[in-house]
Amino acid sequence: MSDNKGVMVVGECADGALASITCELLGIGRKLADNIGEQLSVALLGEKVSGAAKDAVAFGADKVYVVESPMLKDYVTDAYVNAMENLCKEAKPNILLMGQTPMGRDLAPRLAVRLGTGATLDCLDLKIDPQTKLMVMVKPVYGGNALAEVVCEKTRPQIATVRAKCMEPLPRNDSKQGEIVTFDPKLDAAKIRAKFVERVKEKVEGVKLEDAGIIICGGRGMGGPDNFAPLKELAKMLGGAVGATRPPCDNGWVPATLQIGLTGKIVCPNLYVAVAVSGASQHLSGCSGAKNIVAINKDPEANIFKVARYGIVGDYKKVLPPLANKIKELIAG
């Protein structure tokens, strides 16, 4: 393990461009690499990904492995695990970072067992222990009620997946120099046991929750589907999105795709308005990344007030209309 060196990011591309999670991983990867005095590399896997290589350098990578194959066109577990196994055996990274995305959460644990090492998923923070130089991985456990600090002491690479929007990307630097190499993943079609068939996207009206800067979220206290209308109006006015806790989704008041929480979407907006949301821990683990939480709830003891910056103790049905009117007036003026 002593000859394992460097921090490697497993990149993701969307429509030929570097995904935002990859820029965030390069940001934290750069910090870790500088701390231990090692190189930062990125592996780009896909059918045609070389176009994103220069971007990866501009966002902090010293070296880019372009790993192209028709078998890597869509994510398939066996193809990606086999390709990364071959690359890790050649490049011998000390640390391997992925996003907590459908790819990362599928690839990381299987690759870890394949390489005889350990992984930690859904990390919120990564740091280097000054004494041991090990990567300390901080992850939420018990539905976000507690945090665990985990290390992988004896085996390499130390593998972590990182939650989206927890890390700051570096500013783009087009004058940064980096090495771009192609790596043949040596894939054998006979060893790929699953076939990608299709991807079905569900239509979302307006702004996507994960991308929204402002989210208006309704909870169990909304009482029914019709009461979400003023939330939608307010969200539209502010250029934001509407979300919900689990009960409105379970009861069919709003589509399940709007669910925010441990079993739904993880969001990190600048402003999060929680309307009639009690603040169950499984919900908070999905919105604890919000920079500013505003709570509107009848119950002054509601848990949501513990994480809110501003709160109103009152009936949301009486709060929302004057709030919307005043906001409308303010943004118009």
């Binding site: 456990v141 507690a146 079905v200 569900e202 600048n270 402003l271």
Partner: protein, 266 residues
């Protein structure tokens, strides 16, 4: 069709945050007094996925759990839902397992059980939220894996699986035997009928230890762990909420709008 389902006993995840406590030395949660442990919710959905295969194609469902003797209760729960047999994997040597050593023990037990078409797991346990054991079992068994399933169908000797994605779903076709991890989008698990509960009460749950599953003692529990938890703690959340007061809701609402404007949030 023979499905094997892996389930885990966890502290009730619906325990309110105010009643949640941890033992920082043992590095685990202290179960709340009035909240008995439960089956990890995703694992209950994994049982449901296996029962749906049994409903459609016939066959049997075997349930296994690595855990304390008290985990017999969640195995009986799976039996009462409609599973046919259950085994508990219990050995003091399994203490302080991580995802890797847990996956190894479960894989060894699956090898002992023998022939199967599916292994089902929850997409993650509702306590440590590691999300790794399913993929790890598949790797130890050398079989394909598909994670985050919301729907599973058997067609022409292959499994067609819909994987839940943040913005929709993906369809994958895979050869069998296969390991599948189940996500909450699969839908509600069925209730155990009274007849099932009574039948389950009479069934015996054999207990297997390291030797009985033919496991290598250096690969189980803490000895086989690849990761090590240094610290477990409850993050300090300082309550800094500024409550906007007023005579009535209208006044509060207007003051809130002005405040949000003042701090440039709108």
């Amino acid at each position: 069709m023979h499905s094997i389902v892996c389930v885990k006993e966890i502290p009730d995840p619906e325990t309110p945050a105010s009643a949640f406590a941890i033992d920082p030395t043992a590095k685990r949660a202290i179960p709340a007094k009035d909240k008995p442990p439960v089956t990890s919710p995703f694992d209950e959905q994994a049982v449901e996925a296996a029962l749906r295969i049994k409903d459609a194609k016939g066959g049997k469902v075997t349930v296994i759990s690595m855990g304390a003797p008290s985990a017999e209760k969640i195995l009986k729960h799976a039996l009462s839902m409609g599973a046919d047999e259950a085994f508990l994997l219990n050995d003091p040597a399994f203490d302080n397992s991580d995802s890797t050593s847990t996956a190894y023990v479960l894989a060894q037990a699956i090898k002992k059980i023998g022939q199967f078409d599916f292994v089902f797991c929850g997409r993650q346990a509702g306590d440590f939220d590691a999300g790794q054991v399913g993929s790890g079992i598949a790797e130890f068994l050398g079989i394909p894996s598909v994670t985050l399933a919301k729907k599973i169908e058997v067609q022409d000797g292959k499994a067609r699986v819909e994987r839940a994605f943040p913005d929709g779903f993906e369809v994958v076709e895979v050869s069998m035997p296969v390991l599948i991890t189940v996500s909450n989008e699969l839908g509600e698990p069925r209730y155990a009928p009274l007849k099932g509960i009574m039948a389950a009460a009479k069934k015996k749950v054999p207990v297997w230890n390291t030797q009985e599953i033919g496991a290598d003692a250096s690969k189980v529990g803490a000895a086989g762990a690849k990761t090590n938890m240094l610290k477990l703690y409850i993050p300090v959340r300082e309550s800094k909420c500024e409550v906007i007061g007023g005579e009535n809701e209208e006044e509060m609402a207007i003051k809130l709008a002005l405040k949000l404007r003042e701090v440039k949030l709108i």
